[in-house]
């Protein structure tokens, strides 16, 4: 190493220092290039999708039904179908997930049983989506006799989103300081009273953010609903908000994109692009909302 703080040599760099600083700046440039080379192509790809989608994108495209064997027209039935699937699956997954997280964070001690629960949560999160599809087909469609229906597809999606809801809720609960709970216990509150009056109000926004992020995940998944309840085509009237029954199959945006991109002949060229852009934008819009909420919360934290 160089002589430390000798007034004469202090500002003259030895070869060693020159070399190490050169390596340093090369490495910095290299790493920033890596980030850039990851982000720029993606922005370019997204711009490309937009550019090709432009001829089809309009309000009409959203509320119109598919026409001429899905080669023209809009995406309304698929859009509403996705809304159905997302809302029902989250209505099932959110309470179970939040309760499970409350158990893991507030009740569970650190013993082997709860370690197994944690392991199960991690592995449930890692199960491939197509295996969820097989499970949904075997369990809900055949064993529970729900048939190919919205309810089977939603239950499959619910189980897929559950582990992530558990993880994000746990994180939100864990961020409430322990002293809050201790103060509450000290005035004689029971565990549940503490959770309801102190823990949940202080973490509800974090919990909501986690759930909102799962909206976009459920909306984007294709494989789990493909064999449990989503269908290629279903006749629905234009702009109808309640076209489906729970025991019917429905169309879904992600499935529709797969169909028009690979299965339907002679599709209008911009149509799959427009479908992809609508799916992409709704997902990114919801996610950006959740992230904005989180940033806002972090800045307005009370403790």
């Amino acid at each position: 190493m160089t002589d430390p703080i000798d007034p004469v040599t202090r500002f003259t760099k030895t070869d060693f220092v020159v070399r190490k600083e050169r390596i340093q700046s090369v490495s910095k440039i290299l790493f920033s290039l890596m980030v850039i080379s990851m982000i720029i192509p993606l922005l370019a790809i997204i711009a490309y999708l937009f550019y090709h989608a432009l001829p089809s994108l309009s309000w009409e495209f959203l509320v119109e039904v598919p026409k001429k064997g899905m080669s023209e027209g809009g995406i309304w039935p698929a859009f509403v179908g996705t809304l159905y699937l997302v809302l029902i699956s989250l209505a099932i997954a959110a309470p179970i997930g939040v309760f499970a997280a409350i158990y893991l964070n507030e009740y569970a001690r650190d013993n082997w049983f709860n370690r197994i629960i944690n392991l199960a949560v991690i592995n449930l999160a890692g199960v491939p989506s197509i295996v969820h599809a097989l499970f949904g087909l075997g369990a809900f469609v055949y064993a529970a006799q729900f048939g190919y229906s919205i309810i089977s597809a939603s239950l499959t999606l619910a189980i897929m989103t559950l582990p992530v809801i558990i993880a994000s809720t746990r994180e939100a609960l864990a961020s409430v300081p322990m002293t809050f709970r201790e103060a509450c216990w000290n005035v004689g509150a029971t565990r549940w009273q503490t959770i309801r009056a102190i823990v949940l109000p202080n973490s509800i926004s974090g919990i909501l953010t986690g759930i909102i992020l799962q909206v976009s995940r459920a909306a984007g998944e294709t494989a789990p609903i493909m064999f449990t309840g989503a269908v290629f085509y279903k006749a629905v009237s234009r702009g109808d908000l309640f076209p489906y029954q729970l025991n019917e199959q429905c169309m879904a945006l992600s499935m529709h994109l797969y169909t028009v991109a690979t299965q339907v002949p002679n599709v209008k060229e911009s149509l799959p692009y427009a479908t992809a852009v609508v799916l992409l934008c709704s997902v990114l819009f919801v996610n950006a909302g959740a992230i904005a909420l989180r940033v806002w919360l972090r800045n307005h934290k009370k403790w």
């Binding site: 600083e21 340093q24 490495s27 910095k28 790493f31 980030v35 990851m38 982000i39 309470p95 309760f99 499970a100 158990y103 009740y107 569970a108 629960i117 199960a120 949560v121 592995n123 890692g126 199960v127 491939p128 989506s129 197509i130 295996v131 599809a133 097989l134 499970f135 087909l137 075997g138 369990a139 055949y142 189980i159 559950l162 558990i166 809050f180 103060a183 509450c184 509150a189 565990r191 549940w192 009273q193 009056a197 102190i198 202080n202 992020l213 976009s216 984007g220 998944e221 294709t222 494989a223 493909m226 064999f227 992600s254 994109l257 797969y258 991109a261 690979t262 799959p272 992809a276 997902v283």
Partner: protein, 310 residues
């Protein structure tokens, strides 16, 4: 906050009725039941998928060794039905391997840049971008592979078809970079600042700190990040279904079409009639996938746990 707590407690505590106590016990029961739901669901997934796969073991055309190690996959052949998944497994492995060759250096490099080189504002915005990237649905990725990427590949390499191993690898790489970045960034953040300060005090540059201090001490976390990226790539379905082409074969080069385990299930489950051998064997493929990802995730978890204990 404590005020609201006090007031609620003042109202509820002294006059607690039998009913409210019973309600509370009921709620705690529900909470406990939800707590074990994850275990129930993992077991249920295994049970129901396995239940549908079980009849195949009693079929005349099935042999477990051939299922695992034979490359002949002719599930609908009239004369000689063969259920060999090795070409599919190899397809999954090769696509994942190619994806990781690209994603690991870029993912780790980006994580290092985000964690060490940039300021707080830039860090925040890059992390948000990464998070948004992770949210892009897999079917959109598949569509990008089918349209944009395949055109690029055809024009750059002159390959006859653009949907092939290379395409699938690139798409999977783009998909698994976000998860690798965010987990390795966490791992780098977990290295105590005192390590950095000690190295800095010895006159080390940023690069020397990264190379000599951060990478060795965060290596478990980085390994876990790579493993989770692999887990995601192996399990990915729609993107590889649309981007890798549809040939069940051992690829000879990156421009050959392949089919993966996941894509095979997605492509054929719709055609296989329920209760047929073909249908059961697809569920068995699901079990195989389940076991592979289970092993990868379990290893990643053990590696992460190893860090925490330290």
């Amino acid at each position: 906050m404590n005020d609201t707590a006090d007031s609620t407690l003042k109202n509820t505590l002294p006059q607690r009725q039998f009913l409210s106590i019973a309600m509370e016990n009921l709620l705690e029961l529900i909470i406990r039941l939800s707590g074990i739901s994850a275990i129930i669901f993992v077991l249920a997934i295994f049970f129901f998928v396995f239940r549908e796969a079980l009849p195949i073991f009693f079929s005349d055309h099935f042999d477990l060794a051939k299922f695992l190690f034979n490359t002949q996959w002719y599930p609908t052949s009239e004369v000689n039905v063969r259920y060999g998944t090795f070409a599919l497994t190899f397809g999954s492995i090769s696509v994942t391997f190619l994806a990781m060759i690209i994603a690991v250096p870029f993912g780790l490099g980006s994580a290092i840049f985000i964690s060490e080189f940039c300021g707080p504002k830039m860090k925040e915005s890059l992390k948000i971008i990464i998070e948004l990237l992770a949210a892009i649905p897999s079917v959109v990725w598949g569509f990008i592979g089918l349209t944009v990427m395949s055109r690029i590949i055809v024009s750059l390499t002159g390959a006859p078809v653009g949907v092939n191993l290379l395409n699938g690898g690139l798409i999977l790489a783009l998909m698994s970079v976000p998860i690798i970045v965010s987990i390795s960034e966490d791992a780098l953040k977990a290295v105590p600042d005192s390590y950095r300060e000690a190295a800095l005090a010895l006159g080390a540059t940023k690069w020397q700190i990264i190379y000599r201090v951060l990478l060795p001490s965060a290596k478990n976390g980085l390994l876990a990040a790579v493993l989770l990226g692999i887990g995601r790539a192996v399990g990915e379905t729609m993107a590889v279904l649309m981007a890798t082409g549809h040939a069940v074969q051992i690829p000879h080069g990156p421009l050959d079409s392949v089919r993966t385990l996941t894509a095979n299930i997605a492509a054929e489950l719709g055609e296989a009639s329920a209760g047929s051998d073909h249908y059961h064997v697809l569920f068995l493929t699901g079990i195989l996938l389940f076991i592979i990802t289970f092993a990868v995730n379990l290893t990643a978890d053990l590696v992460i746990r190893g860090i925490r204990r330290k």
